[in-house]
């Protein structure tokens, strides 16, 4: 098998160009999925028998929460690849993931709080699920802070990669918190072994939103990655060629 395409992914100029070419292929489908998912979820889906129309915040809350975990796993994987194979581009990917993941985590926490007030009767409780998700936000912020605090890029890469890898332990804790312990947060409706606990008319928009958010994440990541590569390679000669071209 020919691995040159794979090895080229470690080359900053190649990745810089590739990211630019790929971005629209993720951004437009993301926009379509999110518009269709929002239309399906906010307009077409029937109201819930208990929560009425209030349940519709699910269409933003659940995809944000899933993305907060998925982005973290992407970030930690990229960081591990960067650490083991000493690939700078992988560290750049990890560094680009962090603010996106932090934003999804923040969105999940805020929409959850807005949902919790009318449904549970409280914005915030120190419940295992809520607390572990808050820890995830702090992990993202800690990762970003650690990077920002170390002047030398290579040292920042290695130190922050270790933090990202250590933080992986929180991901299964978040996912299983509602089954391991008594929790105020309900059990998963979709990400479970049994059939999803909602009808197709409610489920389909949710899956569209999840797909849309995933594509949106990739599009954002590609844009951020270009910026990150530019900043890291600012002294390199290929940048001058790109800029003058």
């Amino acid at each position: 098998m020919n691995w040159t395409w794979f090895h080229r992914l470690a080359s900053p100029p190649y990745v810089y160009g590739l990211a630019a070419r790929l971005t629209p292929w993720f951004a437009w489908p993301a926009a379509l999925c999110i518009i269709a998912g929002l239309w399906g979820g906010l307009v077409l889906a029937p109201p819930d028998y208990q929560q009425g129309d209030g349940f519709r915040i699910l269409y933003v809350h659940a995809p944000s929460a899933w993305m907060s975990l998925m982005v973290y796993m992407s970030m930690a994987t990229a960081a591990a690849v960067g650490l083991i194979w000493r690939i700078k581009v992988a560290h750049a990917v990890a560094a680009s993931c962090a603010p996106i993941g932090a934003s999804f985590t923040f969105a999940a926490l805020v929409t959850g709080a807005l949902w919790g007030e009318p449904m549970w009767g409280t914005y915030w409780e120190w419940d295992p699920r809520l607390t572990s998700e808050l820890v995830l936000l702090f992990l993202y912020l800690g990762y970003m802070g650690l990077r920002a605090g170390i002047e030398d890029t290579q040292r920042a890469d290695r130190a922050s990669a270790v933090l990202a890898i250590v933080g992986v332990v929180n991901v299964p804790i978040i996912h299983y918190s509602v089954t391991w312990w008594n929790s105020l947060h309900q059990a998963p409706s979709v990400m479970r072994l049994a059939k999803p606990a909602m009808p197709l008319a409610m489920l389909l928009p949710l899956l569209l939103m999840l797909l849309g958010f995933t594509l949106f994440f990739v599009a954002l990541l590609l844009v951020r990655l270009r910026g990150e590569v530019l900043a890291r390679e600012r002294a390199a000669s290929w940048i001058r060629e790109v800029v003058s071209a």
């Binding site: 028998y49 650490l83 000493r86 449904m119 992986v168 105020l184 909602m198 009808p199």
Partner: protein, 179 residues
């Protein structure tokens, strides 16, 4: 061993070590992580004596009593094994239903009544349109396979048990669906 392999082993070692440490810490803190105690734990005396704690379970069908002329309510929280009577004098959350999950924060009085100063409704993971909930209720036996779990079994019936509970949201939702 090449340096690359050494780093791979190091990373896997970090992940394994942190996972083991995390698992040990969490199993040691098991009691403290518990968000609420169920009535069986309360009956077994596992609750810190005289301290505030959270009591969780299902609101027993037909147990909600309102004192006339005040907000004071009494209801029974059950885990289908033991029961605890709860008294509460503030506004109940929207999703509070007989047969649905609830978490109450307060203290146990010496006579065994739990005096709550905060009551939270715990909703389950099921979502369905009101028409479906009504037809399930009409057929009564909730025949869906996943309803066998006691913690969630009562919820569909609880939604429709309107009279003693607060005005159920079902009606509003149903009219919205019909329009």
């Amino acid at each position: 061993m090449t340096p690359r392999r050494r780093r791979l082993v190091l990373v896997l070692g970090i992940v394994a070590g942190v996972s083991i440490a995390g698992a040990l810490a969490l199993s040691a803190f098991r009691q403290n992580v518990t968000f609420f105690f169920d009535p069986t734990q309360v009956a077994a005396g596992k609750v810190p004596n005289g301290e505030r704690f959270r009591l969780g379970g299902m609101v027993k069908e037909g147990s909600l009593q309102r004192a006339p002329g005040s907000l004071e309510v009494h209801f029974v929280v059950t885990d289908f094994n033991r029961d605890v009577t709860v008294s509460y004098d503030k506004v109940l959350p929207d999703l509070f239903r007989e047969g649905a999950g609830v978490v109450a924060h307060g203290r146990l009085r010496t006579d065994g009544t739990f005096v709550a100063d905060e009551v939270l409704a715990k909703h389950d993971e099921k979502y369905m349109p009101p028409e479906v909930a009504r037809s399930l209720k009409r057929r009564h036996g909730d025949s869906r396979a996943d309803a066998a779990v006691p913690a969630t079994a009562g919820s569909t019936e609880g939604a429709a048990a309107a009279p003693p509970g607060p005005p159920a949201r079902t009606d509003k939702a149903a009219s919205a669906a019909g329009s």
